[in-house]
């Protein structure tokens, strides 16, 4: 039996989760929400996380009914993400790991999303579309690496949606993307706008007046291309934008046409959370990985394919 505690705080969500052998024992989370028309800045976000992180950690332990002695390993997000919030979270993770005498594990945020998606959906070996405010990648596993088949050549699709929401001053509560989705449901007029797919990659900057249809069609196309390339019959969508039901619907249509299966998780797990870091940490820990304290520095850039996936064949 292995119990892992995971800390996540690379963007505006701060979460602490506990996983025991594939079971999510607790996963509390808080979101730093800014007024309409404003994005979130690193120093303010770090301040938000700093104010609540110890409370959320206590909640995680209480909700799981566990004591620090019951934890086998402390996982935290090493990167990628915003520097100041990443440091805030890493400080607490390093400190409790030492206080409790537990090994530490620095986790790649993107891999956290992937491993959580795999755990919840039981997808076998899917082509992964990872879409969020900070990341847009099409990923497939091959020989001990999560290979990036395609990605945005500029900004993440969620960033594009968030900036669009800011321009027209849509509320950021609970998230700008969620509110765009609700408004888009009531829309009936489709406006033809430039469609920028370049092979496996996409471009989103300069097109801030996009609506969902075009953005999501682009993502479906590059996912399909990766599937064809890998001969894959499964798609897994992870990341905050993955909550979007219209994206899931459009991806579902493509999958049905190909006789493939679509997997997605609900907002508990596609939005950044602590348990996903715990899950990736659980996999890494069980396959013998550990992060020494002097190597536990955080990093704003950390590519998904930099990590050796020692827990898969």
């Amino acid at each position: 039996m292995t119990v892992v505690l995971g800390f996540e705080g690379s963007a505006n969500k701060i979460g602490v989760g506990i996983i025991r052998d594939g079971e999510v024992l607790s996963n509390p989370r808080r979101t730093y929400i800014t007024p309409p028309g404003q994005g979130f800045l690193p120093s303010d976000t770090a301040r938000h996380h700093r104010a609540v992180i110890l409370t959320v950690l206590k909640e995680a332990l209480e909700q799981a009914g566990l004591k620090p002695a019951d934890i086998d390993c402390v996982a935290y997000t090493k990167g990628p993400g915003m520097g100041a919030p990443l440091v805030t979270v890493a400080l607490v993770a390093r400190t409790v790991a030492q206080l409790w005498g537990k090994p530490l594990l620095g986790v790649n945020h993107c891999i956290g999303h992937i491993e959580m998606g795999r755990l919840i959906t039981n997808a076998n070996n899917p082509t992964v579309l990872y879409v969020s405010g900070g990341n847009t990648q099409v990923i497939a596993y091959s020989e001990r690496r999560y290979r990036i088949f395609g990605e945005t050549i500029d900004i993440a699709v969620g960033n594009c949606l968030d900036r669009f929401a800011r321009v027209i001053k849509i509320s950021n509560d609970p998230s700008p993307g969620y509110n765009i989705e609700q408004m888009a449901k009531k829309g009936s007029q489709y406006v033809e706008l430039p469609y920028t797919v370049k092979g496996m990659d996409v471009s989103f900057s300069g097109i801030l007046s996009y609506i969902e249809e075009t953005l999501f069609s682009m993502l479906v196309e590059i996912t399909e291309r990766a599937m064809a390339h890998c001969g894959s019959q499964e798609v897994l969508i992870v990341g905050g934008v993955g909550c979007n039901l219209r994206l899931q619907e459009m991806m579902g249509v493509m999958c049905k046409e190909r006789g493939a299966k679509l997997f997605a998780t609900d907002e508990r797990f596609c939005i950044d959370n602590g348990a996903m870091i715990a899950q990736a940490g659980w996999e890494m820990f069980r396959s013998g990985q550990v992060t020494e304290l002097e190597d536990s520095w955080i990093t704003q850039r950390y590519r998904t394919d930099e990590v050796e996936v020692t827990w898969r064949d």
Binding site: I53, K58, A84, L91, T95, V96
Partner: protein, 97 residues
């Protein structure tokens, strides 16, 4: 909990700042050291700092080109230090080794 000395100019043209933080034990000073030292200074040039432990005191020494850069780094460090101290207070004392 902290004893501070203000900046001096020792002839190298650099601003120096030193901070000494006493802890209840050497073990706790080392825990703080190991939590606070891994991350690099966000600003590449113009500032450097060194953390050491002697007995049960954590010592930090800064060397900076400009007062403004020094202030930002020291400010940031004190924020981080206070988070580490709060964590130790809530979840300590350290387990016996």
């Amino acid at each position: 909990m902290a004893a501070l000395e203000s900046e001096t100019n020792n002839g190298t043209g650099k601003l120096e700042f030193s901070l000494d933080v006493p802890f209840p034990s050497s073990r706790e000073a080392i825990i703080a050291l190991q939590s606070l030292s891994p991350d690099r200074e966000p600003r590449k040039g113009g500032i450097s700092k060194q953390l050491t432990v002697s007995g049960s005191t954590l010592s930090v020494r800064w060397s900076a080109d400009e007062a403004r850069i020094l202030r930002v780094s020291v400010n940031s460090f004190l924020d981080h230090l206070s988070l580490v101290l709060e964590t130790m207070e809530m979840f300590g004392p350290p387990v016996s080794q």
